[in-house]
Symmetry: C2
Subunit: 443 residues, 2 copies
């Protein structure tokens, strides 16, 4: 409680203040670079982007943006934050073997205290790598929600429903509903909630139908895993004659806004279905590569009009919550899949991680770009380190050369979560110490 009391008043104060980021290089809409710009933030929104020297004070706070890139904050559209607990627990396994042998057995031991601390560990890593919002599906979600509230990020949160037998459907749905109702719209609107049947292969049609109905009643979206492996698609085809995408469409799931992670193995018809229903896709290139699931057809999806965002997936499979890495992976794998170096340009790559990520979290047109009237969610990235020199193109450097240690400041609605690489809302030392202590029983 002491910690909460220390941070909350400050956060509330910041939201209302008038701030200047002076003389910076802005990456604006469509990846357009605006050099030597003064950026004014007021009431948590961008209210002015002016040539350096033109901004009129007074300001409650002023930060020098000289030698830095001001980029949109990044959105992690699919993760399981507390799985930081399982990072590095196993390498070089396939998805089902990894889940069945390494993850599901140990997840049974999981406690609220574990999720409390390991979700905070994940938040430390996310803020340090420039993330301002995330979509998370897991267990003990009250803990994750409290962590997000405290840390100051945006979050779309849901309890992950797995109901292997019919008698689990009702209790699981109640648990999910309870969480979703309690937290939707909290933390000054930063936290919203979703319904999350885990996947078509772990939840039956009855659960999917009820979850869809509940999501519609609560006016919240569905966030799920979809078409991650070829085996999943083959099995569904065998059992139902349909692809997983067709199967969910047939159940009416896409009648509510849906965020679908992975979509690695989708047909042209699937792409059309996803586009027609405005399903957002969370592309997780690192996780899909490490588990050898394949490369999602991002070019086809984007060209078909699907909103493709980026996710790290849980750090258990990906090893990292770093969206800067994920951007590079998305760009490179997109080029490889198309055998075309012009596929997935740097502007598209950043858009997936920012604008599309915001849309995937239900914040279309509200944030994800740096422009007047948008929420002031942003990051300042240093250009001074050797690997960022010579600096012909701030956008190319951000996508291909920047790394976590270059991220100097992160803010959401104009509230600083990190400044000068110092975390302002989380006690990093205490969190890492506590996580080291708690991991003992899982070794």
């Amino acid at each position: 409680m002491l910690q909460l009391a220390r941070h909350v008043p400050w956060l509330l104060y910041c939201s209302t203040m008038r701030m200047l980021i002076s003389n910076t290089t802005v990456i604006g809409e469509g990846g357009a670079v605006l050099p030597a710009t003064d950026v004014i933030i007021d009431g948590g929104k961008y209210v002015g982007l002016l040539p350096t020297g033109k901004a009129q004070g007074p300001f409650d706070k002023s930060i020098s943006g000289e030698g830095k890139i001001l980029a949109p904050g990044l959105f992690n559209a699919h993760t399981h934050l507390a799985m930081t607990l399982f990072r590095g627990k196993a390498a070089d396994m396939n998805l089902m073997q990894w889940l069945e042998e390494e993850i599901w057995p140990v997840e049974k031991k999981l406690t609220a205290e574990d999720v409390h601390w390991f979700s905070r560990l994940g938040l430390v890593e996310m803020i340090r790598s420039g993330t301002v919002g995330f979509a998370d599906m897991y267990f003990f979600m009250d803990e994750v929600a409290q962590a997000a509230e405290e840390a100051g990020l945006r979050a779309l949160l849901s309890y992950g429903i797995i109901a292997p037998s019919a008698d689990r459907v009702e209790p699981e749905l109640r648990k999910a509903e309870e969480f979703a109702s309690a937290w939707n719209g909290t933390a000054d609107g930063r936290i919203t909630t979703a319904f999350s049947p885990h996947a078509p292969y772990t939840c039956g049609p009855e659960l999917w139908s009820q979850a869809t109905k509940l999501a519609r009643e609560l006016k919240i979206p569905i966030h799920t895993h979809l078409a991650e492996t070829k085996e999943e698609v083959d099995r569904m085809r065998e059992q139902t004659g349909r692809t997983p995408v067709e199967w969910l469409e047939g159940l009416g799931v896409f009648s509510v806004p849906t965020l679908a992670a992975h979509c690695v193995h989708v047909t042209e018809k699937d792409c059309n279905i996803l586009a027609a229903h405005r399903v957002a896709v969370a592309h997780c290139p690192t996780s899909n590569a490490r588990l050898a699931c394949g490369i999602a057809p991002t070019t086809d999806l984007l060209n078909g009009g699907v909103c493709v965002a980026l996710g790290t997936d849980g750090p258990g499979s990906s090893g990292s919550l770093d969206l800067l890495r994920e951007m590079r992976m998305a760009a490179m794998l997109g080029k490889l899949r198309q055998t075309d170096p012009q596929a997935i340009g740097v502007d598209q790559t950043l858009a997936m991680a920012s604008k599309n990520g915001a849309a995937a979290l239900g914040l279309r047109n509200e944030t994800g770009t740096i422009a007047e009237g948008k929420w002031a969610d942003g990051i300042l990235v240093a250009r001074r380190n050797a690997h960022m020199i010579p600096g012909y193109s701030p956008l190319t450097d951000l996508v291909y050369s920047a790394e976590k240690a270059d991220v100097e400041a992160v803010f959401v609605k104009g509230n600083m979560l990190m400044e000068g690489r110092r975390l302002l809302t989380l006690d990093e030392e205490r969190i890492t110490a506590k996580c080291r202590e708690l991991v003992g029983k899982y070794r």
Copy 2:
């Protein structure tokens, strides 16, 4: 000169001293993890790996390895260091378009001063990301050699020969020979040299034959580009009925030790030829992905007995000289290519970047692993940052989660090049300032 004088006596002094790295976690041969180990270095070599507390002093220098991983230093088996000058100059282009439109025209403006500073810029980045040795092929190579000598890294260096017309063959070969003779075996044996006809598609058979003959006379290897793009292979087949690998074998090139970068498009027969002649391959997954060249068949090459090392290629195409990134890419692309998450395990990945890299530089059995009797080339990597927790497996964390900012110390032959993240042999501030100044004419 002042700078050289400041550093050289210190380097010489260090080589002869007895050093202790106490209580560290060693990643030893075959990826075996040795916890709580005291490591003794004497005369530039590892002379003892003992349980913590068992090392007998006195020591001239002692470093705490607690909470850190001691890993083999990494070897970048293919790069063009001074191309830091072109980092980010163009994104999203194919190889030939990029070379012909963006790189070759500006390379004509290149001066010795540019290479002097931009190769040092690359060395800063390489040391910071844990690199202890590199194979470089470029122009103004005296500058690169001086930079490597000063920085304290190991280097296999060569002048890159491109001879588009017959009258250029002789002068180009003389230039290459002059450099190779002058620098081979210098810097206390840290610098060796090679002959580098650029590629089968840029150098004719006469040049290749003469270069091979000269390399044999000078007892130095050949370092070249090979089978990078499908177009290159198709064209060679059309013109000669052979693959580029078959063509070089036919010319007798592989009768001298050869380091071949890329080898993305190789047949089973090509793999057999490379293995039979003990050609080392520098796999450059990031560059190959960004230019959409494809994914090299590393599993086939490794299973066939080929020594596969890792290279970043020039930072113009890859955006980075960071071998930690390159390890992750190699592992992930290897899994994707094989549709098998067990392809390219963490042990194989580290071996490619360390042991195989050392072999590719002609240092087989001399370095590349941490074991008694090997040269003390190593890196200390912090385990304290959030993204390295909880730390079940130091090897998995090193390959999948570590990043440049975690590398705290780098040493070659027991000489510290970086300690506590402070560079000891290069003046980083001066180098970055000078590079920013020089880049003006290329904008």
